[in-house]
């Protein structure tokens, strides 16, 4: 009997600025750096992932927004040029990834069984969204671990936060069952920014850190309140205040990734590690890790 397990979950924000600041070969534009505190935070995650050698990284991305149900990438190999529609001047990335299609099938089946509408994306010409790509690059720039991309169903926006979050809880439960059944050692990534109010004009030098500040102090305080609960492992309280956080800060976690991930991990009470926090054009971004291998090794 297969007995897969989730090694860890990461809150893995996806501003393309982080890839831009790093200047990898895969990204065409060049920068003079920037957003180091977030990039260094990701470096800590990279080390741990390298050491764990997981079978798969699953990522839930708000920039693949789907109307009819929850979709899973189901093409074995995806390759292409991803130009960010919002930030094309800083993100033109050549991606190439292997998809864990067996796990995609299992997630699909489990999601259907739990009553969710689910779909498998089987078009080989599909362009992978930049949220998925940025989070995956920041966690594993070598791309040597198969991945599974999951869409963000738009139910939190289309219906209500409540209905949306309920669906994400179910999706998380379906995901962990699929991981168990397929025997995968998996890492999860919720590709989300925290507070999401942002400036609509950019500085001339995009990576001018002199211009990089939180949109307002209330956003900052909300981000800290949420991060503090994560650090304390107070997941119940975190789940309780999430809807208000979403409403007050237009938080991107509304799209469901964080709830999906926490649900898949069984809403753990272990203290999460906040590796770094900084703003990107005024939004609040944190790289956070829930290491489920603690105490089990």
């Amino acid at each position: 009997m297969a007995n897969g397990t989730i090694l860890a979950g990461f809150l893995a924000p996806h501003p393309p600025h982080l890839v831009y600041g790093e200047n990898p070969d895969r990204n065409e534009p060049r920068s003079t750096g920037g957003w180091e505190l977030l990039r260094w935070a990701y470096e800590k995650c990279r080390e741990k992932i390298k050491a764990w050698k997981p079978d798969v990284i699953l990522v839930h991305s708000p920039h693949w927004m789907t109307i009819v149900g929850h979709h899973f990438l189901r093409v074995p190999h995806l390759k292409g040029l991803s130009v960010d529609p919002i930030f094309p001047h800083i993100f033109r990335y050549n991606y190439e990834m292997n998809v864990d299609v067996e796990l995609a099938d299992a997630c699909y089946e489990e999601a259907r069984q739990t009553g969710l509408v689910a779909k498998k994306m089987t078009n080989p010409n599909f362009r992978v969204d930049y949220g998925t790509i940025v989070s995956l690059h920041m966690l594993n720039p070598d791309w040597d671990i198969p991945i599974l991309g999951i869409s963000a169903n738009n139910s939190p926006y289309f219906y209500s936060t409540e209905i949306g979050q309920e669906q994400m809880v179910k999706l998380g439960q379906a995901t962990v069952r699929a991981i168990a059944k397929t025997g995968r050692r998996a890492v999860l990534a919720a590709s989300n920014t925290l507070s999401h109010l942002h400036y609509d004009r950019e500085p001339e030098l995009i990576e001018d850190m002199n211009k990089e500040v939180i949109f307002n102090n209330s956003q900052y305080q909300w981000d800290m309140r949420v991060l503090e609960l994560m650090r304390k492992g107070n997941t119940e309280q975190l789940m309780t205040i999430l809807p208000e956080f979403m409403e007050k800060t237009a938080a991107e976690v509304k799209s469901g990734g964080l709830t999906w991930m926490l649900s898949a991990m069984g809403f753990p009470h272990i203290p999460a590690q906040v590796h770094g926090y900084w703003t990107v054009i005024g939004t609040g971004n944190a790289v956070v890790e829930w290491d489920l291998t603690q105490g089990t090794v």
């Binding site: 529609p85 599909f126 969204d129």
Partner: protein, 277 residues
């Protein structure tokens, strides 16, 4: 003295269902309307087709496509099974650049985009497949800023009108948008396609009736209420953009087709304006 004109203006839907090879009555009706619009565009022999698409979403102000020759293959992120949309467009970069400069001088944040591999949106490509099937007419494409309200959308349209006027060109302007925006959120048999809510249909018809009477200003006034009641596609601000380009005339719009697409409302509307822009 510059003498650019807008020959015709259109509201068209941009969902990929219209290019899918699936025989659904209402989709067929809409396809016929789009083809008819395409015939009229061809007959008008415009120098440029200007498209504003609600599916090209921008957040840092308003974007204008200025790559002279965007080429590639687009796959819709929701309905990827309805086929690929290859494209190879001729873009009137000068018009886009000028419209962006004018919009900026009117206080709007603007950006021109000229990048190989930039993702074009489904709406633009679906609209152009009908309105410019031979790809013989240059196009200009404008994004839908999610934060823009009606006033900014009108201003954005006015900027395009001025750019057309200065260009001395004959233009067709197209607002690619849905009407009521409530999709079915589960798998449905397309042959049973209908409006997700009966009230959405009522609202759409009310708006189309006003358009058919040339009461375009009244439609603008009602837009916020319409958006609230029928969850319209991006607040129906594509219509405001279109009215910005036309100066909110009392010209009646001809409804060439109307029907549901996956629960939402869609219509093909034509304005034969032929006014000096």
């Amino acid at each position: 003295m510059p003498n650019g004109t807008i020959q015709r203006a259109y509201l068209v839907p941009g969902l990929p269902h219209l290019t899918a090879n699936v025989p659904v009555e209402s989709w067929e009706t809409l396809r016929r309307g789009c083809r008819q619009a395409g015939d009229h565009v061809k007959a008008a022999k415009p120098d440029v087709i200007v498209v504003y698409s609600t599916q090209w979403i921008s957040v840092l102000g308003h974007s204008f496509q200025t790559n002279p020759n965007p080429k590639g293959l687009h796959v819709d992120e929701n309905w990827y099974e309805y086929g690929d949309l290859p494209f190879d467009l001729r873009v009137d970069a000068a018009l886009g650049t000028r419209a962006a400069a004018i919009a900026s001088s009117l206080g709007l944040a603007t950006k021109t985009v000229n990048y190989h591999g930039f993702p074009l949106d489904t709406g633009t490509l679906v609209a152009l497949r009908f309105l410019n099937p031979d790809n013989t007419i240059p196009v200009a494409v404008v994004s839908c800023n999610i934060y823009a309200g009606q006033e900014d959308s009108l201003t954005l349209g006015r900027a395009m009108r001025q750019a057309i006027e200065e260009s001395d060109k004959r233009a067709v302007v197209v607002a690619c948008t849905g009407l009521s925006g409530r999709f079915f959120t589960e798998e449905v048999d397309p042959r049973t396609d209908r409006f997700a809510h009966a009230e959405d249909d009522t609202w759409n018809r009310r708006i189309l009736d006003l358009i058919a009477q040339g009461k375009n200003a009244a439609v603008l006034t009602l837009s916020a209420e319409y958006a609230q009641a029928a969850a319209t596609d991006m607040g129906f601000k594509a219509f405001a953009w279109l009215m910005g380009t036309l100066g909110t005339p009392t010209t009646p719009g001809t409804v060439l087709a109307y029907g549901p697409v996956w629960g939402t409302g869609a219509a093909v509307v034509e304005y034969s304006v032929k006014r000096h822009a």
